[in-house]
């Protein structure tokens, strides 16, 4: 039930700060500089890049691509591989689905395979693992490839939100080299049952909602023992971060070196979350509550999620009865963001072929096919995220997820991120259950997190 996407939200105070300008400015400068270098390299380079667009250098070899998926999802990759083989018929791509219950479990399984000598060429890694993989010297720097194929990739970088490009550049590696091209991401939105709100005669949520307006509506729509107003679980990306960020708080500082989980804004957010459980608006934590099915049964009015409930909601035939709005704000808008990437492994023996596949995955063709399959992430290309392929048969407001990139904060992903995440979940289970007071629990969590940084 937990979204696979993890993302972090930047704290947005509703206006362009100097930091934003620097971020966007440097992204533009990077692109501009890249172009300039490309132009300066002389006719040979420009000829090569032109011909590389028109007639892609043919490579060959076998490429293994490991993803966190089950057997059903593996089948959905056939059209993508097929389209790739139209451009590169000599490359054999094997998509290796690795089932797991979490990103941590996926990393374990892949690491075990690597230890056993089965090194995949490309792995799909989420934000949480990107820095970890890069810091262990397991992945190949892409700078040379990107520079060589600059012209080809320009279309990609132009089509992706500059925030995402910048975060990927600064946060996913520890040595300034580029190891990843950003791929599908998730941000958080508020999913609500329009049907339930209508039946209860309560005004539907809006993008401008504040916490107080949210509370008022939730109280009206909740029927004790029958209908829950909102699902407030002890989940890091899907629950703690959006409430924290909309109150101007976060678990870690912006550079992920210090814990900020015991600051007043964070304690206030945690107290708020507990109050929702106490009032019976949210179900109790620590159980097997299935938000999607419960909403389709008409017994849950709202839950928080990104793109990932889409497949389930389609199956439950509830898509046209749900809608999405931005998360209610207190200090400002906020959403975590996390994105996938496709690093090429250092130990790969087919790096050129792997790079061709990675580039293909960044192309519009591949992303259109991928969203057509109903995947759990939002494509990084704006053109695809706004296309019918992505928006058809989805709740009204699905476009809000891409818009959230303008105010999102990357989900903190230091090296021991999975340990920290577990500590956060444990602590919030106790807070939401009422076993511990927020201030005391968060002070203790603060020390635990700091010890793991």
């Amino acid at each position: 039930m937990d979204g696979r996407r993890e993302s972090s939200n930047s704290i947005d105070h509703g206006k362009l700060t100097r930091r934003d300008l620097v971020k966007r400015g440097s992204a533009v400068a990077l692109a501009g500089g890249g172009l300039a270098i490309g132009a300066q390299r002389g006719s040979a380079a420009s000829q090569a890049s032109r011909s590389s667009i028109r007639r892609r250098a043919q490579v060959s070899g076998t490429v293994t691509f490991s993803i966190w998926a089950d057997a059903v999802e593996t089948a959905s990759w056939d059209p993508i591989v097929g389209a790739f083989n139209e451009e590169q018929p000599e490359v054999e791509v094997t998509v290796q689905a690795v089932p797991a219950e979490s990103w941590a479990g996926f990393f374990d399984a892949v690491s075990t395979r690597i230890a056993g000598g089965q090194v995949p060429d490309i792995i799909r890694v989420a934000t949480e693992g990107q820095r970890l993989f890069a810091s262990r010297g397991l992945v190949e720097p892409l700078d040379a490839y990107i520079e060589r194929d600059q012209a080809e990739l320009q279309d990609f970088f132009d089509d992706v939100d500059p925030n995402l490009v910048e975060w990927n550049r600064t946060l996913s590696s520890t040595d300034g080299k580029t190891y990843f091209l950003p791929h599908g991401f998730n941000t958080m939105a508020l999913w609500y049952s329009a049907e339930l709100f209508e039946q209860a005669g309560v005004e539907a949520p809006t993008d401008e909602w504040t916490w107080d307006q949210f509370l008022a509506a939730a109280e009206q729509v909740t029927q004790p023992g029958q209908v829950f107003g909102m699902h407030v679980p002890a989940e890091y990306f899907g629950s703690v971060m959006p409430w924290f960020l909309t109150n101007g708080a976060s678990t870690l500082s912006a550079d992920w070196t210090a814990s900020t989980v015991a600051e007043p804004a964070a304690i206030e957010a945690a107290t708020w979350m507990r109050s929702l459980v106490e009032k019976g608006i949210s179900p109790q934590p620590g159980g097997e509550f299935d938000a999607f099915a419960t909403m389709a049964q008409g017994r849950l009015a709202m839950f928080g999620a990104g793109r990932w409930p889409t497949a389930a909601m389609r199956e439950l035939e509830y898509i046209d009865k749900v809608k999405m709005v931005a998360w209610p704000r207190k200090v400002g808008q906020g959403s975590p963001v996390g994105w996938d990437a496709h690093p090429i492994m250092q130990a790969s023996e087919n790096k050129d072929a792997a790079w061709e596949f990675v580039k293909f995955l960044a192309s519009k063709t591949a992303q259109e096919i991928e969203v057509g399959q109903g995947g759990p992430t939002v494509p990084p290309r704006r053109s695809v995220a706004q296309s019918p392929a992505f928006l058809d048969n989805t709740p009204e407001g699905m476009n809000k997820l891409y818009e959230a990139l303008s105010y999102a904060t990357p989900i903190p992903s230091p090296n021991k991120g999975n340990v920290i995440e577990q500590d956060v979940i444990d602590t919030f289970n106790q807070i939401l259950a009422g076993n511990r007071e927020p201030e005391e629990a968060l002070t203790e969590l603060d020390q635990k997190i700091q010890a793991n940084l």
């Binding site: 690597i114 262990r136 509550f289």
Partner: protein, 317 residues
């Protein structure tokens, strides 16, 4: 002229003559080879799956290995780290608590159930009860843990429902630090009681009934019969059940892993789960091997203690 002991014929003399000194006869050599051949599958499996990995673990405990980069020899560093590992200490304490209650409850309840079922009752009912008590053992731990997670769910689980119905406070079992371990002990009891039950039942049925009859004739009451006949005659079985239950309980992993992940905090972290997390989450295989060796030693020492004590209470006919 008395006969010397050596002059008296013994059974052994005859077989001695069949076995020439200094070596085996072709017949017995063939028998020996046949015996080893029959044993070889078991020996092979033992070497490949038990002895080999054990030696590997001993070797690995002297290295530092993160699965992804080559192993590095560090000597006894992993063992020096052990006393400082507070999480390992918690895990060992949790495991001993779990094991103590597990053994006590399994033997106690197993005995009660076995006594109940071995009484005179319709054969159909007895057959049904035997199957019913044993059945959960055949269900995979994953399924059992999932089912119980739903039963104990705070929003729609029926235990919570009935507790509230009766007016009792219903804790959220799996995230309450005071209730998580008792919940795991209870679920484990539900699943594995069948094992001790069947063993003790077989032991009970092996007690000759003439002993009870003789005791009844002598005027012994139910309690005296239980204490002076049942318990001593059952003691080898009780001893076996206790040793096996301890060995199994000390290595408990699945219910914690599936239901609580060692949480809340570290209150349900078992030592085997800590080994798993150290090896596969923190990528410290060498240290995990050292921990595993400690578990092996603890189990061996406790079993040896139990063997030594068995002289005093296990009655062998």
């Amino acid at each position: 002229m008395g006969t010397t002991p050596a002059a008296q014929p013994r059974v052994g003399d005859l077989t001695d003559r069949l076995k020439p000194r200094g070596g085996a006869s072709p017949l017995s050599r063939r028998e020996t080879i046949a015996a080893y051949l029959f044993l070889s599958p078991a020996i092979l499996l033992f070497v490949i799956f038990i002895a080999g990995p054990l030696l590997g673990a001993i070797a690995l405990s002297l290295f530092q290995w993160d699965l992804l980069t080559p192993a590095k020899f560090v000597g006894l560093q992993n063992f020096e780290r052990l006393p400082r590992d507070a999480t390992a200490r918690s895990a060992v304490v949790n495991t001993f608590v779990f094991t103590f209650w597990s053994v006590v409850l399994h033997i106690g309840l197993g005995l009660v159930l076995a006594l109940g079922v071995s009484r005179g009752m319709p054969a159909v009912l007895r057959y049904f009860l035997r199957t019913a008590f044993f059945f959960p053992l055949l269900v995979s731990w994953a399924a059992v843990a999932l089912i119980w997670a739903y039963i104990l769910d705070p929003n729609f689980g029926f235990i919570t429902y009935y507790l509230r119905d009766v007016g009792l406070p219903a804790p959220i079992f799996l995230i309450d630090p005071d209730w998580a371990m008792p919940a795991i002990i209870a679920v484990d009891l539900w699943r594995t009681i069948g094992f001790t039950f069947i063993i003790l039942l077989a032991g009970l049925q092996g007690i000759p009934s003439h002993l009870y009859e003789a005791a009844a004739v002598d005027g012994a009451g139910a309690f005296r019969r239980f204490w002076n006949i049942t318990i001593p005659m059952l003691s080898p079985t009780l001893f076996f059940a206790t040793v096996i239950t301890f060995i199994g309980a000390f290595q408990i992993f699945e219910p914690m892993f599936i239901m609580t992940r060692g949480g809340p905090g570290d209150s349900t972290l078992s030592i085997v789960m800590h080994i798993y997390e150290t090896g596969f989450r923190a990528f410290e295989m060498g240290y995990a091997s050292a921990l595993a060796l400690i578990v092996f030693l603890v189990i061996m020492i406790v079993t040896l203690i139990q063997l030594a004590l068995s002289r005093y209470w296990v009655f062998h006919e």
